[in-house]
């Protein structure tokens, strides 16, 4: 059993034009994508993404929603010509998702790589902000999930899970975990309720926006378990679990534990080794009870009558994962995740504020409490909300989290060098290597690209070739680098057998 599996993180960034709250966010998001694309010679034309394999209405529960009954926002496979969309040299996708610029990381195979390539997205957004600053008022970007006024936007994790794992088992095993997980990886938020109706501070910026246990929607009636069934891989072998309940993390440890612990729980579920009664009686309400209690002492009622804290629920999961690893064997990536997971639960059980170097919501709360203490502020003070927003500003000179990190107050698991390298280099062990490599070195021949395909124009053969990349673990560096390095697109396609 291992934390290793195909995964990735998609982050929609908050966007604002300074001094112009009425600015059109779609247009501003389009500027973000085209600015980056132009600066790097990437084609941001609308044809650059291949939608032929997108099926946003297929539900994992075994049916497809009729298009006529779908909310317009669910039709993500329709090309909107005003929206820019581009593949980056690292294999990521940068595009406009409704009203936000989104960075979808390339496929990686470990939680640590997920953190590295997620952080690479921060550098992409940071570069755009710096470029746009040259033409005032510029555009600012925030790695957060709500404006505190009723709108929320997502940070989604994707995990490939074996298709033979029954979806009901995934729902049963993951729901209690997702209800509790936020204490280890919430980003923290000033304001309680979707529109901050009540003053105060809470653990997760997303919890108030969830209104259902299971469902296909991502923009309304948000479900704890999302059922979108679009694997971008061989559907007979894989399903892609699309997790919409996480917060955007800036802290390495929280980010690692978020993806790593979730991957381990999925391994337990795949192996049918999730063997404890942990059903939460009212998960949607429990999510909010836990989020609204930064002391982490609130309990939620379980189906068997027990009242458990989030830390107690997570401890049960950790015990199951640890026992399973002891039986089945481990690897360094798994040991690293388990060590941090265990350490965080210890800190949270003792005093959550002990985790100030490791978890976003704790670091933020610790800072806000110092301000409250120093300047005698109530939670209604707009200065606290301003700090909350600025906490996730991507600019190093303005972003408060970056200030804390720079001052050595935050535990780093990644180095600046490897994150910088990940902006222009794909992960070596997935098909992202071929996707990023083709875009970087043969960009002029690319008609379109997607997660599982490349459509290329072959000048010598005088034809168009579609390269299918249905296996995320194929087409990595070992397999494709010698073909890519010739710089000849005809030879590449012949070599790939497409």
């Amino acid at each position: 059993m291992s934390v290793r599996r195909v995964m990735g993180v998609e982050t929609e960034y908050g966007i604002s034009v300074p001094g112009e709250p009425q600015a059109n966010p779609m247009a501003a998001s389009g500027d973000v994508v085209t600015t980056y694309a132009r600066a790097h010679g990437l084609r941001a034309a609308h044809g650059a993404w291949d939608y032929s394999d997108e099926h946003p209405l297929i539900d994992a529960r075994g049916f497809e929603v009729p298009r006529s009954r779908a909310d317009l926002s669910q039709l993500t496979d329709i090309e909107d010509p005003t929206l820019a969309n581009v593949v980056l040299a690292n294999g990521a996708r940068l595009y406009v998702d409704h009203a936000h610029p989104e960075y979808s990381s390339p496929e990686v195979t470990s939680p640590r790589d997920a953190v590295v390539w997620d952080r690479a997205g921060e550098l992409v957004m940071r570069e755009v902000v710096q470029r746009l600053a040259a033409t005032p008022p510029g555009i600012n970007l925030y790695k957060n999930n709500t404006d505190g006024k009723g709108s929320s936007y997502g940070t989604h994790e994707n995990f490939l899970v074996t298709r033979r794992t029954p979806f009901e088992r995934i729902v049963a095993g993951l729901t209690p975990f997702f209800v509790a997980r936020q204490v280890m990886c919430g980003a923290g938020r000033v304001g309680i309720g979707q529109e901050s109706e009540h003053a105060g501070y809470q653990i997760s910026s997303r919890s108030d926006f969830f209104e259902a246990s299971v469902g296909l929607e991502t923009t309304f009636k948000r479900p704890i378990i999302n059922t979108r069934d679009e694997p971008h891989a061989d559907p007979d072998i894989w399903r892609r679990l699309h997790v919409i309940i996480g917060d955007a993390n800036q802290a390495d440890v929280a980010n690692l534990v978020k993806t790593g612990s979730t991957s381990l729980v999925l391994s337990l579920i795949e192996a049918d080794a999730f063997d404890r009664g942990l059903e939460v009686l009212h998960p949607v309400e429990a999510l909010k009870v836990i989020s609204h209690d930064p002391t982490c002492t609130a309990t939620v009622r379980m189906r068997d009558g027990r009242d458990l804290t989030a830390v107690q629920i997570l401890t049960e999961y950790l015990e199951m994962a640890t026992a399973f690893v002891e039986r089945e064997g481990s690897d360094p990536a798994t040991d690293e995740v388990l060590a941090h997971w265990e350490r965080l639960l210890g800190l949270l059980a003792h005093d959550p504020m002990d985790a100030t170097a490791d978890i976003d919501w704790v670091a933020k709360l610790n800072l806000l409490e110092r301000y409250r203490h120093r300047d005698g502020m109530e939670w209604t003070d707009p200065r606290l909300t301003a700090i909350d927003i600025q906490f996730s500003d991507v600019r190093p000179e303005k972003g408060i989290f970056h200030k804390l990190e720079e001052a050595g107050r935050i535990t780093r698991l990644t180095s600046d060098e490897e994150v910088r390298a990940a902006v222009s280099t794909p992960p070596a062990d997935t098909r992202a290597w071929l996707r990023g490599g083709v875009v970087e070195r043969l960009g002029q021949h690319v008609i379109s690209a997607s997660w599982d395909s490349l459509v290329l124009r072959l000048p010598r053969a005088g034809r168009i070739a579609r390269v299918s990349m249905l296996d995320p673990l194929a087409h990595g560096r070992d397999e494709t680098e010698s073909l890519l390095s010739t710089g000849d697109v005809d030879d590449l396609v012949v070599g790939l057998g497409a």
Binding site: D354, Y371, R409
Partner: protein
């Protein structure tokens, strides 16, 4: 099933010196506060000048 919560070992274990918990926690908290306070001054310098205006102006459309 036993319901006792298992306290994971604190990291950096080492030798367990018997320390008065209260003193230890107070010292830890004081150190933590000093840590943050030294950063506060720097953050003061980069905070948006008109907090109320800034918060009002941060309006997003829902996403995803």
């Amino acid at each position: 099933m036993a319901q006792e919560q298992i306290r994971p070992e604190r990291s950096g274990g080492g030798d367990e010196e018997p320390v008065d918990e209260g003193t230890q926690v107070a010292a830890q908290n004081a150190a933590r506060d000093e840590d943050v306070d030294s950063v506060l001054d720097e953050i003061d310098g980069v905070l948006e000048s008109n907090a109320e205006e800034f918060v009002k102006g941060f309006v997003q459309k829902g996403g995803q």
